[in-house]
Symmetry: C2
Subunit: 209 residues, 2 copies
């Protein structure tokens, strides 16, 4: 079980093309990524890109399934076995580690989720499923108070947890932090913990700003 995307033996031209396309898509988006740019970055002719993947869309699809499979390989195994109450936390920690270790993975996932691609939508939905299950388990254990709308609150937990990835540049600019720095993550985590363990508005009325 490795968080590495490529082993050293995977440096065939096809793999280099895939890696180059991944980086370019993460940086610029699908539409702004050209076949020639992919080829140049991979040190290869544009024709070879088409030769291996059929078309530009073929490269894009290959990257998508490749990343989705990679994400699942590194997170799914955490869901089964052990204490389910800790499953989501392990999943988040693992995800953070992957984002930290694989350059541009965060940017790519952000695009995948926010471009409304079906892969991204499904992946997020499954994460909400898991978050809701875990929250329900905590309720049964008496470690969380009952929720009127459990699934919505589970989604909020997920959003707050994923915010440094989902909304990375936005938060970095607004908070003057840099999520390449580990301390920025822990600062966010601490604030998140405080928000969830201590009611921000202990008073009564639904008066949310």
């Amino acid at each position: 079980m490795s968080t590495q995307l490529t082993g050293p033996e995977d440096l065939t031209a096809k793999a280099r093309i895939r890696g180059a396309a991944f980086a370019l898509v993460a940086e610029r988006g699908v539409h702004a990524t050209t076949v020639r740019a992919i080829a140049q970055r991979a040190g290869v002719s544009p024709a070879l890109v088409i030769h291996h993947f059929g078309s530009k869309q073929g490269v894009v699809d290959a990257i998508s399934t490749w990343i989705v499979e990679y994400l699942h390989r590194n997170t799914r195994e955490l869901d089964r076995g052990g204490d389910p109450a800790q499953a989501l936390q392990r999943r988040l920690v693992r995800f953070e580690r992957m984002v930290a270790e694989v350059p541009l993975l965060g940017a790519y996932v952000r695009r995948m989720l926010l471009d409304g691609q079906p892969d991204g939508l499904d992946w997020f939905r499954r994460a909400v499923d898991l978050s809701a299950e875990e929250l329900a388990h905590r309720e049964r254990m008496g470690k969380a108070r009952p929720s009127t709308d459990l699934r919505s609150e589970a989604a909020m937990l997920l959003i707050l947890g994923f915010a440094p990835v989902l909304l990375g540049p936005l938060l970095e600019h607004a908070l003057d932090v840099d999520f390449d720095d580990e301390r920025s993550w822990t600062r966010w985590r601490d604030a998140e913990s405080e928000l969830l363990t201590s009611a921000l508005y202990p008073g009564a009325a639904a008066d949310t700003p």
Copy 2:
């Protein structure tokens, strides 16, 4: 003070071009929007688009400043005067109304914020500023408990409040809701209110999933 983007007298060709470009950018993004598509949607020749705005980038910039100015005109006035503790709430409500009334405004703002455009980054930063000010005021009033990291928690409030816009498609798919329906908004608001007025994890340790 109107939330309308265009009055009926504003239907010059230039205005139609701007509107068409706005819709296309909101739907497909800047890069996938072509001058010819803008022209066709506005019922105009491609040359006229260039004639009025100088270049495609000119159209994009015009839209950006147009929307940013529109957002400010409809939210800034709410900040001054009256009870500052209610300013952000009024701002959020007004924003929701604008998004509901102006088609594709939500999609456009989502792109503006998430594409990392400077306009979007600055706008979000200012929103965090306001959110932090308002939270500080609530603390002084005793309506909110003290925060260790006030600005981070203010950002979290903003993220939760803007989530239906920022992460619209993601949430709609994960929660099986449709934010065109008013009830989906109130459901989200209710859950948000519950999360903020009643600690989710009343227990001790920082054990956030």
